[in-house]
């Protein structure tokens, strides 16, 4: 039987999500038996021409050239799955979206006139049809393996969509907000990481992005009672998933109040 062809594509990103595949030390060689790794520049100089059965896309769209390239990737891919906060929500580089990009560029660049970049960093789903979005900055490697397995078996991946809070409950982690008064984004953040931060006595900072219908305003009110300022709340929502609508809207509300 022909093994399905897997391709891994990179746009604006840190490479961390695709590295998750190479960090599957116990599973990598098995995965390589099941699928043909046809295009994966971080790992191999050998490439096999498309079309590809499954494309994993990391990174956000920030240049006109990349906006073209993602269309070509889509044309070549039977299934396209985005991996990580950059590809599903624009990533940390989407912080530029809240600024006048020119002013923003001038901060960094001596000759901003030469910079060729789009005004916004946008998720892949804003450009092409996406079959599945895997959350996280970075993604969880077990979820990645589930996604690959599911697509090989032609089924939907089994990925939870409840909140980090439910993962805390399941692993028996004491709530850091209730017990210590530590502000936490767990109630509005999608599960998947295994509730790592609260288990390290730290509030969740939302790296898996918003849950399906998060009550961001109620959580902000709770944070206020714990002593958080508008600036604190603004910064919390405006982070690695800043361009995801619920987080974006909540951060904008606090930006207005800050003024």
């Amino acid at each position: 039987m022909m093994r399905p062809k897997l391709a891994v594509w990179k746009f604006a990103s840190c490479d961390g999500c695709q590295l998750s595949l190479l960090d599957c030390e116990d599973e990598l060689l098995t995965v390589a038996d099941q699928v043909e790794i046809a295009y994966f520049m971080e790992a191999s100089r050998a490439t096999v021409a498309g079309p590809y059965d499954l494309s994993l896309v990391e990174g956000s769209i920030t240049t006109a050239h990349d906006a073209e390239r993602i269309r070509e990737v889509r044309r070549q891919s039977k299934r396209l799955v985005t991996i990580g906060a950059c590809a599903t929500a624009g990533g940390i580089q989407a912080l530029r979206n809240f600024q006048d990009v020119r002013a923003f560029t001038e901060i960094v660049y001596a000759r901003p006139g030469y910079i060729s970049t789009l005004a916004q960093s946008t998720p892949i789903g804003q450009h092409v049809l996406v079959d599945f979005e895997l959350r996280g900055c970075p993604i969880d490697k077990h979820q990645l393996l589930e996604v690959i397995a599911a697509f090989i078996q032609r089924r939907r991946p089994v990925i939870r969509t409840d909140s980090v809070c439910t993962e805390c409950k399941r692993r028996g982690t004491v709530c850091v907000m209730v017990a210590d008064g530590t502000p936490c984004l767990g109630p509005v953040t999608q599960a998947g990481c295994g509730a790592i931060c609260p288990s390290f006595d730290r509030g969740c900072y939302g790296c898996f992005g918003p849950t399906e219908s998060p009550n961001t305003a109620a959580l902000a009110a709770w944070w206020r009672r714990l002593g958080a300022s508008d600036t604190d709340i603004l910064r919390a929502y405006r982070n690695f998933n800043a361009w995801a609508s619920p987080f974006r809207e909540e951060s904008e509300a606090h930006e207005r109040r800050e003024r």
């Binding site: 060689l29 901060i107 288990s199």
Partner: protein
Amino acid sequence: MSDANGKAEGSRTIRVDYLARVEGEGSLHLGIRDGAVEDVRLAIFEPPRFFEALLRGRGFGEAPDITSRICGICPVAYMMSAVHAMENAAGVSIAGPIRDLRRLLYCGEWIESHVLHVAMLHAPDFLGYPDAIAMARDHGEHVRRALGLKKAGNDIVRLLGGREIHPINVRVGGFYKVPTRRELSTLTEPLLRARDAARALVDRVAAFPFPEYEQDYEFVALRHPDEYPFNEGRVVSSRGIDIDVADYDSVFEEFQVPHSTALHARIRGRGSYLVGPLARYALNSDLLSPAARDAAAAVGLGPVCRNPYRSILVRAVEVLHACDEALRLIAAYTPPDAPFVAVPVQDAVGLAATEAPRGLLYHRYRIDASGSILDARIIPPTSQNQGAIEEDLRRVATACLDMPDDALQGRCEQTIRNHDPCISCAAHFLKLTVERT
């Protein structure tokens, strides 16, 4: 991909549009005319991500988490330079178990990142495979051992940092939570096995066919009086630089080149230099663990190695050192009274350099009295090495001109991969992306 169409006699162009097995995206352009290399351009075309701009207005405590997202392969390095810079701004210096845990975390990242590079990204060049997976078909045992060794590094990062990529447990002043002695000791067994695997890796790599080639680099690395450097030390060079990190900017400078989205760096009034394993080793080999030193001697690595292809061997030696150092730190560990030290906020400038797996990583921040970042400057190792890499390419190409294009391209790619450039990092700091003439 060579293309001689329409070119004058004796002229050829070697182009590598996408460099494989390096982190990030770059390309190489080599112009050869009448038997001479005229043009060497290592272009980094990662789109800019503007980290230095987006850090403005963020809280100083956010710098470690935000800057870790510059690079998925060495997030700990970014976190470490950031926390030290912020502590430097506050005049706080961390000693005792917290400092040791930071070293331990760095050991984990060195092991994970070096083994990824040695066994999966670079070894295939020497053995003639496109990648480690294809290599595993003939050398399954070696690839599996390497994966196990890499995992031992990742286990450290996960236990101490919460996860392998972008750990969550690092904060200015220390950690959110520190492990118990017993938790840490679970790493001992796997690390003892990793140590054996690292020793075997040194021998294995030493048998690779290394091209004859030496380059007279000026090496730059941190130097600490009694430790192989991770987080601290003076900035020293093989040609006499010996300065406090605070003076970095007065000795080193960045400059733009039109063909790349990453800045280059040079020593003021002098030229390019090299950071990374070769430099660290040349300037600190006396401080390696005894076993790492012995292993280096046994495979004929002198106190200084100027053959860049052998950097893979130096990395393997550093992996062994990191295993030893991790074992030593774990054995000596007593948990601190508190997981972190309070770091006061004040209007100040803070800077620090640490040794990322790929070399010196410099951060500098100005913060205001409320703890907001006013400006940030980050100089990753790849930016600093770009000049030296291009000089290597020019010489290598000159020496290998009679090779067919395919072989020449392969050799050039291998030369770049030696230096393990982390292109996503370098490209975040560009000043110029497009040349318009």
